[in-house]
Amino acid sequence: MSLHVDIRKTVRSEARHFHLHVRFDAPARRTVIYGPSGAGKSLTLQAIAGLLTPDEGRIAFDDDVLFDGTALIDVPARSRGFGYLFQDYALFPKLNVRQNIAFGLHAGWRNPPRNVAGDMVDRWLRAFELQDVAAQRPAELSGGQRQRVALARALVHSPRALLLDEPFSALDPALRERMRQELDELLQRIGIPVVMITHDPDDLQRFGEIVLHLRDGAIVEPEARAMQAKIRPDGGNA
């Protein structure tokens, strides 16, 4: 894959006046955008997904232009074909696991029925060992199960890339390392391109073929993975 991002966005609120000016090309299958909270990571990821409209600039994935401020191209989020894993997973609380996973496969104005069937749904239920909780609602699941449901929901309609928003921050530390490993293996197995944003240095080692450092709304120094050896020791195990 190759992701091209060159955007500007000014966000005004009573608390702050934030300028985002992010520019990078990510030719790798795994890109991590790394930076402290408030650096603009979420805004960047939302802009890529189409959930935030930049003031100007250009976003392209492979040969597809998703946003172009001068050509007035702005492909809506629903048509960009990305899978998105939200920080708190954003599972639909009134739908069971099966319905949540089937959500994106189901067109129209009504939600999928409780016992919605389908090869794809069953395949992902099995792949994530969620068959036993298929009829349960998100509130009844453990943190790890919730993340797996969210991943299954994002992957079920075969997205062209997966966007991950701080995927491990909602988990307790003991579970975090295990899920990191699990996700790593899964991504390798299905071979889907990934863009991850994180403030946790432990994510870099495992997921960052390319690591982009974001600070105060701008990329400071694109680094190759080889350089990460320097960060690793003081990052420690969170």
Partner: protein, 223 residues
Amino acid sequence: MDVSVWVTLGLTVKVAAWATTINLVLGSGVGWLLARRSFVGREFVDAVLTLPLVLPPTVLGYYLLVVIGKRGWLGAWLHQTFGINLIFTWQGAVIAATIVAFPLILRSARTAFETVDPQLEQAGRVLGLNEWALFFRVTLPMAWPGILGGTLLVFARALGEFGATLMVAGSIPGRTQTLSIAVYEAVQAGQDDMATFLVAITSIVCVTVLLAAGRLVPRAGRS
């Protein structure tokens, strides 16, 4: 009072049911707009639409006569174009009850929509929903308990509407006379037994609605 009490009760429920249905649709729509779209004058619109909560019903009734009366700017047009007259009709009573009760559903709906986590809506967008599907599949189900509570309050309020209804629809037994107006008429005519009976019926209906509201809303909110 030569019209059966049951006719009066039926008319009252019919007027309240229409007012509730109209308010459910309008209140949800406007409540969503106020909660999810920012536009110039949003809070002003909210304030104007909340006015019926604080204005005396007779003042509202007067405004309505000015607008939909035979010489009102909307009423005259309706009369000339379609031959429709709303004054002294049950439809007029529906309009009066709708407007008086509207702030109740607007408050509930706006608050209900504001408490829906925007991230759920973003998740719906990324999963391929257009804005209409998003409203019916994500936003409305999450806001529904609050809207339902407001709807029952609207029904109770519409059942008891007096002032604006009397001015717009009058008190024609069997045609526009609702329970609350019949109570007033019975007391004025010295029919104390009738008044007591009507008061008892009205109270029972209202208590039933409030009990239903109290039972339905927290239960739906928990699930």
